[in-house]
């Protein structure tokens, strides 16, 4: 795919070589094809962009290694995908989200944004079920709000909590465990507010300064949650940290970024390049430039990656009739958990090629049947067709 786009852009460069603005733009897009995938973190002031970028960025993970996070990119920066932060899922805030893309291609292949309900631990005045409520709100918005349906995911994240938990030290765990050992009734009034938590009258020998740093790193909600978790069985630092990270939504966000962005780096970079080209075509239309436009259109019509990503989002967002096991199999085959044949078929890496081939054959037959069932709605059959096309694509690698 990259080679096709490279040729397309090179032709466009030649076509626009007398326009300095256009050729600078195209040249930049062409160069970017060889750079790491760039993911922008955007959102209003105070939504916690920097915290989230740091929480994601310091994560030593194989899936996010070849990825460059840009905190609050300027509009002129080429980004391939974006994580969009929002404080509340209120209609007023949602309407400000999407400036409708001017390029038709960008609209047809809008698979580049994950919406994050940021500072999820502040939902509902920081009650102990705040994260759960936030998660439900995000899920509901993704399923039901048409404004949210165009995103690759709507995920509630408490970045600060996740970041603090992941980088937590043994000292901090000891401290929290000591607090958890204090009888609940006695501690309760000191957990009412940050002021109370750092009050000199707090029982025990821990200094107010230490308590303040703890509450600043984990937030009061985080401290309360940690104490509850320790009391209910998270009895070592790793367990507690893992549980807090899981609940913070950071893990889910990381999986989505890895599956929808990092694994599709090539397609997304090609998409960025083509969008640049389409912008140029729109800004400086010329005789015969419609030939380039036709090639752009052909590219968007044939790029299967975008259809896969769109369908993954639709299945997960509950906008298809698929659910349960078939839905899980479908998103796996579509490459949500990785795009190698083994990952798509849910097999161990390094499996016997014969087994992989047979599993693929089995899947393709089943989904072909699904795609041709006359009792299914046309939309469902179309979805099944996309799955069939994905599996066929992986089978081709064996016959070649």
């Amino acid at each position: 795919m990259t080679e096709d786009v490279r040729t397309l852009l090179a032709d466009a460069c030649a076509f626009y070589r007398d326009s300095r603005r256009a050729s600078a733009l195209l040249r930049e897009a062409l160069d970017h094809l060889d750079e790491p995938l760039r993911v922008g973190v955007t959102g209003a002031a105070g939504s916690g962009k920097t915290t989230l970028a740091a929480a994601l960025g310091d994560w030593p993970s194989r899936a996010l290694r070849d990825l460059e996070l840009v905190d609050d990119p300027s509009p002129s920066t080429l980004t391939d995908a974006s994580v969009q932060l929002l404080r509340h899922l209120e209609p007023d805030e949602l309407t400000t989200l999407r400036p409708t893309a001017s390029s038709t291609f960008a609209r047809q292949t809008a698979v580049d944004t994950v919406l994050v309900l940021a500072r999820a631990d502040e939902t509902g005045a920081g009650r102990i079920d705040a994260l759960l409520t936030a998660k439900q709100l995000a899920r509901r918005a993704w399923r039901e709000d048409p404004v949210c349906s165009g995103f690759q995911g709507v995920i509630a994240v408490a970045a600060q909590l996740g970041y603090g938990a992941r980088a937590s030290t043994d000292d901090e765990f000891e401290l929290l465990a000591a607090f958890a050992a204090v009888p609940r009734e006695e501690l309760e009034r000191y957990l009412l507010s940050v002021d109370a938590f750092t009050d000199p009258a707090f029982p025990g020998p821990v200094s107010a300064e230490t308590r303040r740093s703890l509450v600043t790193r984990f937030s009061l909600f985080g401290v309360k949650l940690a104490l509850t978790l320790i009391r209910t069985g998270c009895d070592n630092r790793l367990k507690l940290s893992a549980e807090l990270v899981r609940r913070s939504g950071l893990g889910e966000l990381q999986d989505t970024i890895a599956g929808c962005f990092a694994a599709r780096a090539e397609a997304l970079r090609a998409r960025t390049a083509v969008i640049s080209l389409e912008t140029v075509l729109q800004a400086e239309p010329r005789p015969y430039s419609d030939r380039l436009a036709a090639r752009v259109e052909r590219f968007s019509a044939t790029a299967h990656d975008f259809r896969e990503l769109r369908l993954i989002a639709d299945i997960r967002g509950g906008r298809t009739a698929l659910s349960g096991e078939p839905a899980e199999e479908a998103v796996q085959l579509l490459g949500a958990q990785g795009t190698t044949p083994e990952e798509r078929l849910g097999l161990e890496t390094g499996s016997d090629p014969q087994d992989v081939y047979e599993a693929g054959l089995d899947a393709v037959l089943r989904w072909r049947h699904e795609a041709e069932r006359p009792d299914r709605a046309p939309a469902e059959r179309a979805a099944a067709h996309v799955v069939v096309r994905s599996v066929e694509g992986l089978l081709v690698q064996f016959t070649g």
Binding site: D92, E93, A125, L137, S193
Partner: protein, 590 residues
């Protein structure tokens, strides 16, 4: 009882608002004026998810407002005193439906959007017993949304406002703008900084908010509060914890509002409203005066000069379009004639070729319709060409006037190609059998005689095989010669007939074409002459207006100035009223 002093000032301002087309301002003043004498109303305003509902509940120590993730109602909730808790939904047409307080959220959610005007809640609380009404408002957001409008509408009735903003972020530009708007229309404002229990840095946020408010010239205190702590304190009956929640201060501020005598409150409210309305109205008038001034700034001489330039331009344009039209029409005339001549010449050539070779007897049936058709086509083509050119000429002439002027309708009259008479078949002599036999006999007789005499020298009789054979040969030759002669004659006749027909058609249509072109010329000339006349009229009218208009403009500006002065005086009087009501006026520049 005499009418209070502020009523007069308010009425005067109200009339001015109405007179200057600011019905919105007039309506607000109306609501202030006709407000029944009652306890103070304190509105709680803020953007979404700032903890507004929690704050109201914490003030009352009762779960009146929906909190957390429950959708807040899109209409104001008025909370007043009642011995027994109860709630009333008030519909668009003031119809009232009683509902239990605990079912309020569900009942409000079940109503279709826009069907409710407000919700009234009664709770048995000492705080409210003196007649205080707390108004919880829909979240402020998008300035065009009905929710925001409903929230801001509450301001017209409010004596004081609690602006709710949480401590997770400082006051943003939108919140500061809201505060400014509130403070313009409402004498008392306090900013409640909520959620201080979960924000470690709330003290810094409060300081920065205070600085931002004073920098924006907004007179409002910032009171940090925690509803969560307040509820915990109430549950535990812990007085010290209650003090930490920050609520005693907020309640003290509310009590201060309640303790003011009603007359003072009314006067102050009137003063503030009059000043706000007067200031807005003065701004409107000033813009109008400025616009008028800008118009007047271009002096008369410049305007006259400009029209003079345009008149000269029009004159130049007149000679330009007239020349263009006559040149183009002459060109079209000759081109059209040449075109038709060329086409007929080619037809005549074809006629010649046809009858040089073909026999009219055999080809005429085919030839006649062909000639009719071809002639009609030639005429039609020339005619279409003429019409297109005429259209183009009209456009070219219109272009000299500028694109905004209409084109004249220039389709010439019908071509009439379908009225061309059919070519008549010429009288063609045929070579009939009898004629052929006679001619043959003549030839054979000669042949027999000639060869009979010659062969007679050789002793043969006159009629011998040779002379008879020669007779047959001679007969055939004579028939063929005679046939060829007749064919040539027929061809000549056919050619002549066809050519004459073509000439007729050409003559007639070149005349028609000339007429059509002349017709177009006349149409265009009339149209553009009328247009040029209109423009000239317009210019002269404009010149008259310029001469007459400057006086009128000056009158209008002077009237606006007087009106602004009057409003400034009202503004000042309202300020004095406010002073009497115990509050020094701050902004006195009208």
């Amino acid at each position: 009882m005499t009418a209070p002093a502020w009523l007069e000032v308010l009425d005067e301002t109200l009339d001015a608002c109405r007179a200057h087309g600011r019905a919105d301002l007039a309506q607000r003043l109306h609501r202030r004026r006709d407000r029944p004498a009652r306890g103070p109303r304190i509105a709680v305003l803020g953007f979404a998810k700032q903890g507004k509902g929690y704050l109201v509940n914490a003030v009352l120590n009762a779960p009146v407002c929906p909190v957390g993730d429950a959708p807040t109602p899109a209409v104001p909730v008025e909370i007043g005193y009642a011995a027994e808790p109860g709630a009333t939904l008030v519909g668009r047409a003031e119809e009232r439906v009683e509902v239990p307080v605990e079912r309020l959220t569900g009942e409000v959610g079940a109503r279709p959007a826009g069907s409710l005007r407000r919700v009234e809640v009664g709770v048995p609380r000492d705080l409210l017993s003196a007649g205080l009404v707390l108004v919880d408002t829909p979240a402020v957001g998008d300035p065009r949304s009905p929710r925001t409008m409903a929230a801001l509408d509450v301001l017209a009735d409010a004596d004081a406002v609690v602006l709710v903003s949480d401590a997770t972020t400082e006051l943003g530009p939108a919140e500061l703008a809201l505060a400014h708007h509130i403070r313009t229309w409402c004498p008392h404002l306090v900013v409640a900084l909520t959620k201080i229990d979960v924000c470690p840095s709330w003290r810094a946020v409060a300081e920065r908010n205070r600085a931002a408010l004073s920098e924006a010239g907004i007179d409002a205190a910032v009171l940090p509060v925690s509803s969560t702590v307040r509820f915990a304190a109430a549950k535990a009956g812990d007085q010290e914890l209650n003090i930490r929640s920050g609520f005693p201060e907020l309640l003290g501020w509310i009590a201060g509002q309640v303790s003011q005598p009603p007359e003072t409150r009314a006067a102050l409210l009137a003063a503030v409203s009059v000043r706000a309305a007067a200031a807005e109205l003065v701004e409107t008038l000033r813009l109008r005066a400025e616009a008028a001034g800008q118009e007047a700034g271009v002096d008369q001489a410049t305007l006259l000069h400009r029209t003079q330039r345009r008149a000269d331009e029009l004159r130049r344009r007149n000679s330009r379009w007239q020349n263009l039209l006559s040149d183009e029409i002459a060109d079209l005339q000759s081109d059209a004639e040449y075109d038709l001549r060329e086409r007929t010449r080619r037809i005549v050539e074809t006629i010649d070729e046809t009858f040089d070779r073909g026999d009219p007897v055999k080809v005429w049936d085919e030839f006649g319709p062909w000639l009719d058709r071809t002639l009609a086509e030639a005429v039609e083509t020339t005619y279409t060409f003429t019409a297109d050119r005429a259209e183009w000429i009209a456009q070219a002439v219109a272009a000299t006037f500028g694109v905004q002027y209409d084109l004249a309708e220039v389709t010439p009259p019908e071509s009439g190609a379908d009225q061309i008479a059919e070519v008549r078949q010429p009288r063609i002599e045929r070579f009939k059998i009898g004629q052929k036999a006679f001619t043959g006999l003549r030839g054979s007789y000669g042949g027999v005689l000639m060869f009979g005499l010659v062969t007679g020298l050789a002793g043969l009789p006159l009629l011998n095989p040779i002379s008879l054979g020669a007779g047959v040969a001679f007969a055939a030759k004579t028939i063929s010669d005679e046939g060829g002669m007749r064919l040539q004659r027929r061809q000549a006749v056919a050619k002549m007939t066809a050519q004459r027909h073509v000439d007729d058609v050409f003559l007639r249509f070149s005349k028609d074409c000339r007429d059509a072109i002349r017709h177009v010329q006349r149409r265009l000339r009339d149209h553009f002459t009328a247009l040029a006349d209109d423009l000239a009229d317009e210019l002269s009218r404009e010149r008259e207006t310029i001469i007459a208009g400057s006086a009128e403009r000056e009158r209008r500006t002077a009237r606006l100035r007087r009106e602004i002065d009057r409003l400034a005086a009202l503004h000042q009087r309202a300020g004095e009223l406010g002073l009497r009501a115990g509050r020094a006026p701050k902004e006195l520049s009208a």
